[in-house]
Every structure is written in C-alpha cells, then in structure tokens.
C-alpha cells in the first residue's frame, strides 16, 4: 500500500482545483445538498406516517424499493435525460438518502410510547404541541440514527459523481483508476472513509446536543 499520493503536500494545496481540499469541499457539497433535499422530502412523509399510522405499509416498502434503485444506473439515466450538470448527481444521491431518513423518522414516531402521548393530550396540549414538544423530541434518537446512516452512505456513494465527470473525491478513484495510479485510489478511499467517520462524529455531537439526556439508552 502506497501512501505517497495522500502524503504529498502538493495535493493538499488549498486553492488547486484538483487538490484534495477542493475535492473534499465539492464532495461535502453534494452530500449536504442531497441530505438537505432528502430530509425535506422524506422527513415530513415519515413523520406523518409515523404520527398517524396511516400508510405504514407504504413507508416500509417504499424504503426498501428506494434502496434497491442502483445509484450508478440512476445517475447515468439522469445524465442521459437531463444532460451534464449538478442536478442528475443530486437526484441520484437524494434517492439514496430518502429510504433511511423515511424509515427512521417513521420508526422513531412509531416507537414513541403511546402512554406518554396520551398523558400529553390529557394535559391539554394541542395536536401541534403534542407533535413538537413530545413526539418529535422522543423520536429524535431513532431519527438521528437513520440520518447518520444516510450520511455515511451518501459520503461513500457520492464518489460515483466522478463517473459522470463531476468533481468530488470520486475523482481520485476514477482518475487514479484511469491512469493506474493506485496510490491515488488509495488516497481517495482513505479520505472518503475518514470523511464519513468525521461526518458521523459531527452528527453524533449534534445528536448529543439536541437529544435529551433523559432518552439515553432508549435509542
């Protein structure tokens, strides 16, 4: 295993367009946009289904069906349909993050102890207050679990963007592969895995911050 590419300071030049820092930035950009889009789409649906119990069959199966869509195929399909540009990458990655976010927000809501919800209603909370003050905070540990899963997955998978000519850490893999430079591929793999771990750690910190200590051990 050859770490020369990774350790070469020239590849860590902050400004260089093919440098690792820029690639990380682009990569994180895809990741963040996909997570944002996925959350906007999946979270309300998951919460609604979990809250009402209506359509849980759909939630579970849509989750699984979503997972079965091959990201690479979807990406290539989107490129042939929509042309180059950022949109195809975003669509493919968003489809990837929807299932874990959907199923975890659904499961988080389902797992909320109904007796507690009952107590909240019994104290005179309005439905919206029950949702925001009781159900959501209690569902958070499970929801964050799903979100972290989605994040790890999308960090690893965003590398396929390079297969359709986009930037991101996948460049190290695709370009390294194309010129038979294993050191570069290795650098890519390491940086991606490290980034995934860091993103996960970061989210774990957020989780600690927003999840009530009273729920420790309930996730």
């Amino acid at each position: 295993m050859n770490l020369s590419y990774l350790l070469d300071p020239a590849h860590w030049d902050l400004g260089a367009s093919g440098g690792i820092p820029m690639l990380i930035l682009d990569h994180l950009g895809y990741v963040a946009l996909a997570l944002l889009a996925g959350t906007i789409i999946a979270l309300p649906v998951g919460l609604y289904i979990g809250h009402t119990g209506k359509g849980s069959f759909i939630a579970i199966n849509a989750g699984n069906a979503g997972r079965s869509l091959p990201t690479l195929g979807l990406l290539m399909l989107m490129v042939t349909l929509l042309g180059l540009g950022l949109l195809p990458v975003l669509i493919a990655l968003t489809v990837l993050v929807i299932p874990p976010i959907l199923t975890s927000s659904y499961a988080g809501m389902r797992n909320v102890d109904q007796r507690v919800v009952d107590a909240a209603r019994g104290m005179g909370m309005h439905p919206w207050q029950v949702l925001t003050r009781v159900e959501l905070p209690m569902a958070l540990p499970v929801m964050m679990g799903g979100f972290r899963n989605a994040a790890i997955q999308v960090v690893a998978t965003a590398t396929v963007a390079a297969a359709v000519g986009r930037s991101g850490l996948g460049r190290l893999l695709i370009d390294g592969l194309a010129v038979n430079d294993y050191s570069r591929v290795l650098a890519g793999a390491i940086v991606v895995a490290a980034l995934a771990v860091l993103v996960d750690l970061f989210l774990a910190l957020i989780q600690r911050w927003i999840v009530s200590p009273g729920l420790k051990g309930l996730s």
Binding site: R115, A120, G122, G124, Q129, S212, L218
Partner: protein, 334 residues
Amino acid sequence: MITFEDVVKVYPGGGTAVDHLSMELPTGKMTVLVGPSGCGKTTSLRMINRMIEPTAGRILIDGEDVTAKNEALLRRGIGYVIQHAGLFPHRTVLDNVATVPVLTGSTRRAARAKALELLERVGLPEQFAKRYPAQLSGGQQQRVGVARALAADPPIMLMDEPFSAVDPVVRLQLHDEFLRLQQDLGKTIVMVTHDIDEALKLGDRVAVLREGGHLAQFGTPRDLVTNPADDFVSGFVGRDRGLRGLSFDSAADLPVQAVDGLSLDDAGRPLGWPSDSGLRPTNGTFTKEDSLRTVTDLVISSPVGIAVRVGPDGAADGLVSHHDLADHLASRRS
C-alpha cells in the same frame, strides 16, 4: 360536582364498554371506580376530560356539559395521572411538573418555582428535580406523576391506577401520603383501580362497575361492605366482610373498664402485663379515634385477651376484654 347522565360508550367494532352510566361525584371528595379488568373504568374516566367521547348521554362538571368547552382548555383544568405515570422521558422531573403551567402561559421561571414546591409536597426533595424520569424508581415516578397533575392546581384530578406500578410496601406508603395530601387540598378526585382494598381505603365514594360497563353499586365504602347491592358486589368486596365492616365503626363509644392489673410507668403509660416470667407486652394500644377493627385485633393478639386504651398523652385510660367487645358488638344489632 361531576355528573354522568345516562352515559353510553360503544367502541366501533367492540362491545359496549360503558352502559347507561349515571352517577354524581361530589365536589371535594374522592370517588373511586373499581371493578374487574375490562369493565369500563378507564373508559368512564377518560370521558370526563374528553380523551374519549361518549356515544350517548352527557357528562357535566358543575352543571356545564364538558362538550361545551374547548378540549385542550378543558383538559388543562383537569389534572390527569395516567397508569405508569406517562412521564416525558426527555424532560427533567422539574420540567415534567412545570409542563401545564408553561402551557397555560406561566413564565418558565414561575412554573419551575411552583414545580419545586409541589415536588417537595409529594415527598421528593430538591435533588430529584434535575433528574430524568428514567433515573427514578417506580414509586418516585408515581409521585412525579401526581405532582405534575397538581401543578395547574386544577379543581379536578383524574387518576388511572396511579399506584399499580409499585410494590405493595411502597404502595401503602403512597396511599398514606396521598390521603394526607388530599386532606390539605380537598380536590375533586376520580380514581380508577381494580384493587378493592385500595378503593375502600382511599375512596369517599366507591363506584363498583361490572363487566359490560354496568354500575353495580355506588356508595360509601361502608355501604359496600355492610350493604352490598348484590352477589357481584359482595363477591368483589371479598371475604372478611364482617371484619372489614368494623373498620368503619369508631371505638369512641366502646365502654371500657378501669385500668387494673397493668404495669404502668410514672406517666401512666402501659409497660406490660405482669406474669410469672416477667412483663408480657401489650402488643399495642388503641385510642378513641381508632376503629373497632383495631380493637378486635388487639384483644385477640393480647397475651391476656385484653386491649388497652390510651389517651392523647399515651396514658392508659381503659381496658377492653373479649367479653366487653362481644357485648358491644352484640348490642349494635337490631
């Protein structure tokens, strides 16, 4: 006063949970709903704060139909203690208790101060305030549940098997605390249990429900024990009816003999019964406030068959023998 007027609840797909229930629960008193599992106790209770809507009939609070009020506002004025406490796991004990005051517009600061006071009141010292429910024992959680329901100082409290999750020893302790609290507060309380002992001990009124949501009897604990309406009620009240009945009779009018043959200390307090092998313990004493049941027990457990009555200062002021008691009990008849 809470009035049930011909209330019926039929669950869609289920049978009749509550069947033409009419009763009046007096203000400032505790009414206990008791009956076997599935007889409609919880359903009846939850119709009061409209967690469940009746199929027919009306429920009035002080003459006003509960359906006339906004649901949420109605509930904020009614404390509700749920089985297993139903505490919010994500909030500290303090914030659990402060919930309703905050909901009703109190400042967080004021609500917390109030909550602290209430925790004190239910026997939880300040150091528990910052804990989360998961860090409390079952009995402590129940207390928080009660404190939380009291927080808005609601005139009415609903309690669904509030003491069922704790072991018998702790339960007895909670009962006593609760009775003391209620003496201070004088709330209108509706409580559900399936433990007849609990019902008889805590209730000012007891409503016995039977399968299918029928009211079998509504009355004071004494009514139930001494005049069960039917076999179902007498079966439910169980064995020892005679002895149980004695708990409602005061020992105040029980004639006593002069104190004699008992060793006393300087202050006149009983030391024991002299015998060949030294002093034998009295095994307890009673006062005028005790019940005939206590006296009966003392007579029987006394080594000499005589129970000792003491005055407020603890000095022996009378004796009751088997025969004295028998006379008194026999004379109550007819």
